[in-house]
């Protein structure tokens, strides 16, 4: 038998068997059969000794070629199979990509602190600092130093909760104005958010416990125009620029001139609806130029300094801003309510 023929036989045999081999296992069998220690190719190499020398280079080359070809073919197919397998595996790992994600609880912020923080940031951007004061006050800070004398009809504007004949629960955040003026020399530019108390029955629009944000600016040459400018920026920021603001003469014992601030109704935009009692305007805060007596009582000379002050109900702003129709929701803490504020 001619070795040349045998090479061809092996080649043919391999090709026949290779055509049938489609998995890793059969490929491995082929590898052992042809390239193994006792494999067909190895055996052909063994026969190389018995052929004439002149044929050796040619046949040797042939044989090497055969070995390379088999190796390569096996390798290529093996790779292909592996690729297929991987592909199949990935295919099998298909998931329903629309199933819900894993959500870590994220908590929520109470609407009152949400609005308070927003208001604070607005005023901070205009150069205000934040002042604080006690919730239990005495007559002096809550009334007298704010030019609200005893037995004055102005006392009727607020029903006070008393602890005893000396102490009371502050009815407004205005005492913080006095406390600030007592310990700070002008220029003063502060806001004071905080909790206040009134002897009011709890219903949809009244609460014995609520929150105010007070503002105070004292410096030389502070004008009523400055008051208007500052407040209008706050209103624009909190309710949106499309809302207009108006100032209306009013009365607070600690400011003169005093102004009530109205914003165009957020529901009807001035046309008149039930929210604004058909006036088209919503009252949102009281304001005014600090009364000279109040400055004097805190040892600030009203001939050299002037100032403005304002105060708003944070609860009311929250109700208006979020369209909440019952103030009791703010202290009920129903989760279905809380979770609406992120």
């Amino acid at each position: 038998m001619n070795i040349e023929e045998t090479i061809n036989e092996v080649k043919e045999e391999f090709q026949e068997m290779f055509a049938e081999a489609h998995d890793s296992e059969s490929l491995e069998k082929l590898r052992i059969r042809f390239l193994g220690k006792n494999g067909r190719v190895k055996k052909l190499y063994g026969k190389m000794g018995s052929i004439p020398d002149e044929s050796k280079p040619v046949l040797g080359k042939e044989l090497n070629k055969l070995k390379q070809q088999i190796t390569r073919q096996l390798e290529v197919r093996q790779e292909k199979i592996e690729e297929e397998k991987k592909k199949q595996q990935l295919e099998e790992e298909r998931i329903d990509v629309t199933l819900p994600g894993t959500r870590i609880k994220t908590g929520s912020q109470h609407p009152l602190s949400l609005v308070t923080e927003e208001l604070e940031d607005i005023f901070i951007s205009m150069g205000f600092k934040i002042a604080e004061g006690p919730e239990v006050e005495d007559e002096y800070y809550n009334f007298k130093a704010l030019n609200i004398p005893e037995d004055h009809p102005a006392r009727d504007l607020q029903d006070t909760l008393y602890l005893d004949d000396l102490y009371l629960l502050r009815t407004h955040t205005s005492p913080v104005q006095v406390r600030t003026m007592e310990k700070t020399k002008p220029p003063i530019k502060i806001i004071a958010p905080g909790r206040v108390y009134r002897a009011d029955e709890l219903d949809a629009s009244h609460s014995p416990v609520f929150h105010q944000l007070e503002g105070l600016v004292v410096d030389d040459k502070i004008t009523f125009g400055d008051l208007k400018g500052t407040i209008s920026i706050m209103v624009e920021q909190i309710f949106g620029e499309e809302h207009s603001v108006r100032f209306r003469p009013s009365y607070f014992p600690f400011t003169e001139p005093s102004a009530e601030v109205d914003v165009s109704c957020i529901v009807c935009e001035g046309k008149g609806c039930s929210l604004c009692s058909r006036t088209g305007w919503l009252e949102i805060m009281g304001s005014g130029m600090v009364h000279p007596k109040v400055l004097s009582m805190s040892d600030i000379d009203p001939r050299s300094y002037s100032g403005f002050a304002f105060g708003m109900g944070i609860d009311r702003i929250a109700l208006l801003k979020y369209g909440i129709d019952d103030i009791r929701l703010l202290q009920e803490n129903d989760r279905r309510f809380l979770q609406q504020f992120k």
Partner: protein, 825 residues
């Protein structure tokens, strides 16, 4: 205060329509709370005269009326019992609607045609209560006229919400002055007609002598005798105007006093002079034990703080508040004594408060009336009494006015006005503005105006008040918008920043923020649970050791709760002493609404009393509470406890608080075996625990609900996050070792970690417990803990041997100290 458009228009040509007046007044500072048309819904109702009445053929209680309606006659079926021939009535014609919405149609009633309806006052909305018959109109009404014209209902009413400084506007003339001042200072005011000055009147022969015993409480007292009065209804126009102002007409005398009050803002009172004893009026403080029945039929016990009007033997009125029943004007009254006076604002206010008796009169005196116009108002009333009550006035008025009031004078610097408002108004213009409002303004030179304050402006006290007047006339909304300069940057102080950070961290842990009232009920089961918690609390706030104060605690607990002196209801009558009760209630509320799991936090203030007339201690707290947490890390049925513990530990960690520790304690509100005290070094900062099963049951909470309360200030003071400085990331690898040990179940995990950390050198950089087990395969009374330790040398690569040496040392210490058995060794 309510005003009428027509009434106001009788004094000044109102420069705007009724609807615009509402806006005008509001922008002038006289806030219109409500405006309504008096003839609302009555525009189609006409007047008619019944000219014939026949029985109804099919119904005994109905009559068939022929009604003259001016242009034509109509047949109307009516069931009222007070119908009569020649009676003037209100008729709703077919096609019209009643104010209540009822549509009137041509109809047949029991087979008889009826074209219209004869109305009762309540059907027309003119009376609240149901009337027994149809409305009877005055005889002088012309059949066929519109009802609103016949009854003078074609008028608008404005309900004013007046602030205390607008006392002058408690009378129509005051409002007229405002309208002039704020629209056109050249408008004329038509002043009302008065009784001429007293020429020709004789000296007081029958008029009483007046003695003011307390001139500080009554600065002026006038009275005038009016004889031969005839008590009857006042004229329709006066009744209408009173009704428009919200005052019920009574009789001509009372109506006239009210009418003049509503013109001049001067309360007046009419006594039945025949019941005044001894021709003398004494204005004095009441004697102890005196009594007076006031016009509202209430018996008032008088005391010397109360100022009364008295005759020689008895009080006849509470000065400035209400008259006495003993001198009330009745149908038989023939002589009236008309009082016009000025009483002290504070005294009137106190008397009105004392008796819970706020009257139209006290309301005005409290806000100060125009003392200079007292006599004028009296003369106005006299004019009306002569005209509409047949009164004869032959004697002079007594005017007891010991110290006539001098007009206050102020100097206004125009520069200061302009600088204060941020405007540029010329002095002349300012002067005109003030004149329009009724001030006497005199330009001294270009920069100064001398202003004399009229008696009706007792609210004006200084420069700022005049500046407000100029701002009002100029228009608040015409003042330009400017902004104050900022010398310093704004911002939060470090503590305020920390507050925000704390809130953010807690929300990041999945906690929802809540807000509870700081007022609590009188009967408060939850606060009762806090008896011993409160001892703990005091230790936190006062930094005193627990035992030194222990004895006094029990008795003091109730006293330490801040109580309100005048609560509106028992539900809000105490201040909270802790955030825990509120938090527990929030979880309870939500649990009852089918919420299974919820974690919440609150930051807020709590209060502890230090005894009456002492300022209570206010402390800011952070409270956390959780129910229904799912993950139970140590299989101890304590998911909420460990969830909250993790949240607090994360908080401490994020705030860079260095050394803190938890220690087992006992407190009534918590489960006795599941509560720990958080300490920074030796300072108590707060408490964490599972709620006591009794609390859980009482508030229908899920089992294992837990809560935390921390002192915010102490947390803030210990925080070091603001001083973060970067430490280099280690360049050499670390080595990790695990260790499993069996120890007695009584040894706290914290002690094990502390022992490990003490036993190792500082190459041990972290020790963590990653497994805890008790049960099968573990001997009774012991537990298995698995620790992970990480070793790191920042200067070189660690050798295995070095770590082994450390671990051996740790094992030795654990074996010695805790008789630990190392598993797998």
């Amino acid at each position: 205060m309510q005003i009428s458009y027509n009434w106001l228009n009788s004094y000044i040509d109102i420069p705007c329509e009724p609807k615009e007046l509402k806006y005008f007044l509001t922008m002038a500072g006289l806030e219109v709370e409500e405006m309504f048309y008096q003839g609302e819904g009555l525009d189609k109702i006409i007047t008619g005269e019944i000219i014939g009445i026949k029985d109804h053929e099919n119904a005994d209680n109905l009559k068939v009326c022929q009604v003259d309606c001016g242009e034509n006659k109509r047949q109307i079926v009516c069931g009222a019992s007070n119908i009569a021939e020649n009676l003037k009535v209100a008729v709703a014609l077919p096609g019209s609607r009643l104010p209540g919405g009822l549509k009137i149609e041509e109809t047949e009633l029991r087979g008889v045609k009826s074209s219209g309806m004869i109305c009762s006052a309540d059907e027309l909305g003119l009376k609240e209560e149901r009337q027994s018959g149809i409305m009877e109109l005055p005889e002088e009404v012309e059949a066929g006229d519109l009802l609103v014209e016949a009854l003078l209902l074609n008028d608008y009413t404005y309900k004013l919400d007046l602030t205390p400084n607008y006392a002058r506007c408690l009378g129509h003339l005051g409002v007229a002055r405002e309208v002039r001042g704020l629209s056109d200072e050249t408008l004329e005011i038509n002043w009302p007609e008065l009784l001429p000055e007293d020429d020709g009147k004789t000296f007081q022969a029958a008029t009483p002598e007046v003695e003011i015993q307390d001139p500080d409480l009554c600065q002026r007292y006038t009275c005038r005798l009016i004889e031969d009065v005839e008590i009857k209804a006042s004229p329709l126009w006066m009744q209408r105007r009173l009704e428009a102002a919200g005052i019920r007409p009574i009789n001509n005398i009372v109506d006239i006093t009210n009418y003049v009050m509503l013109e001049y803002n001067q309360p007046l009172h009419a006594f039945d002079y025949d019941n005044i004893n001894g021709r003398k009026i004494i204005v004095r403080r009441a004697n102890p034990g005196e009594r007076l029945i006031t016009l509202d039929d209430e018996k008032r016990q008088l005391t010397p703080e109360v100022l009364v009007i008295a005759d020689r033997e008895k009080p006849v009125g509470l000065a400035g508040v209400m008259g006495g029943a003993n001198t009330e004007v009745t149908e038989s009254t023939g002589r009236v004594l008309l009082e016009a006076a000025s009483f002290d604002a504070v005294n009137v206010r106190r008397t009105a408060k004392k008796y819970g008796l706020s009257s139209e009169s006290s309301h005005r005196f409290e806000r100060k009336i125009d003392i200079t116009a007292v006599a004028e108002a009296s003369r106005r009333a006299c004019y009306l009494l002569e005209r509409y009550a047949g009164g004869k006035i032959t004697e002079e008025m007594v005017d007891c006015y010991p110290e006539p009031c001098e007009k206050k004078k102020l100097q206004l610097e125009t520069d200061r006005v302009n600088n204060f408002l941020g405007v540029e108004i010329a002095g002349e213009e300012m002067s005109d503005m003030l004149t329009g409002l009724g001030f006497e303004a005199d330009m001294k030179d270009d920069s100064r105006i001398a202003v004399s304050i009229p008696g009706f402006r007792r609210d004006v006290d200084g420069e700022a008040d005049l500046i407000e007047e100029i701002a009002r006339v100029y228009g608040y909304n015409n003042i330009p918008y400017t902004r104050p300069a900022s010398a310093e940057p704004g911002g939060r102080n470090p503590e305020q920043k920390a507050s925000l950070k704390i809130n953010r961290i807690l929300r990041g842990q999945g906690l929802e923020e809540v807000k509870n009232f700081s007022l609590r009920p009188k009967d408060d089961n939850l606060t009762d649970y806090l008896q011993d918690y409160y001892k703990f609390y005091l230790a936190v706030t006062e930094g005193k050791s627990r035992s030194s104060r222990e004895d006094s605690f029990e008795s003091n607990f109730k006293n330490s709760i801040v109580k309100l002196k005048n609560p509106l209801s028992q539900a809000f009558s105490r201040m909270r002493i802790s955030l825990l009760p509120g938090l527990i209630e929030v979880l309870s509320l939500n649990s009852r609404k089918q919420v299974k799991d919820m974690s919440i936090y609150e930051t807020g203030r709590v209060f502890v009393s230090r005894g009456e007339r002492n300022r209570p201690v206010e402390t800011d707290k952070i409270g956390l509470a959780s129910m229904g947490a799912a993950y139970d890390p140590w299989n101890l049925s304590a998911p909420d406890y460990f969830y909250l513990k993790g949240a607090v530990e994360n908080l401490l960690d994020k705030l860079e608080i260095d050394s803190w520790s938890w220690q087992r304690i006992k407190l009534d509100i918590f489960h006795p075996g599941r509560v720990a005290d958080l300490k920074f070094k030796n300072k108590r900062v707060g408490v964490l625990g599972e709620l006591h099963p009794d609390v859980i049951e009482e508030f229908k909470l899920p089992a294992r609900t837990s809560a935390v309360e921390l002192d915010k200030k102490l947390i803030y003071q210990a925080a070091g996050y603001e001083k973060i400085s970067y430490q280099q990331i280690p360049r050499f690898p670390s080595i990790s070792r695990d260790l499993a040990l069996l120890i007695s179940e009584d040894i706290p995990a914290r002690d094990v970690i502390e022992a490990v950390e003490e036993a190792a050198s500082d190459i041990l950089i972290s020790t963590e417990i990653f497994d805890f087990y008790q049960g099968e395969q573990i001997p009774e009374g012991r537990k298995s803990l698995a620790l992970n330790m990480v070793f790191q040398d920042y200067n070189k690569t660690l050798k295995e041997e070095e770590v082994e040496k450390q671990v051996d040392n740790i094992i030795e210490v654990l074996e010695d100290e805790f008789q630990a058995k190392i598993r797998g060794k």
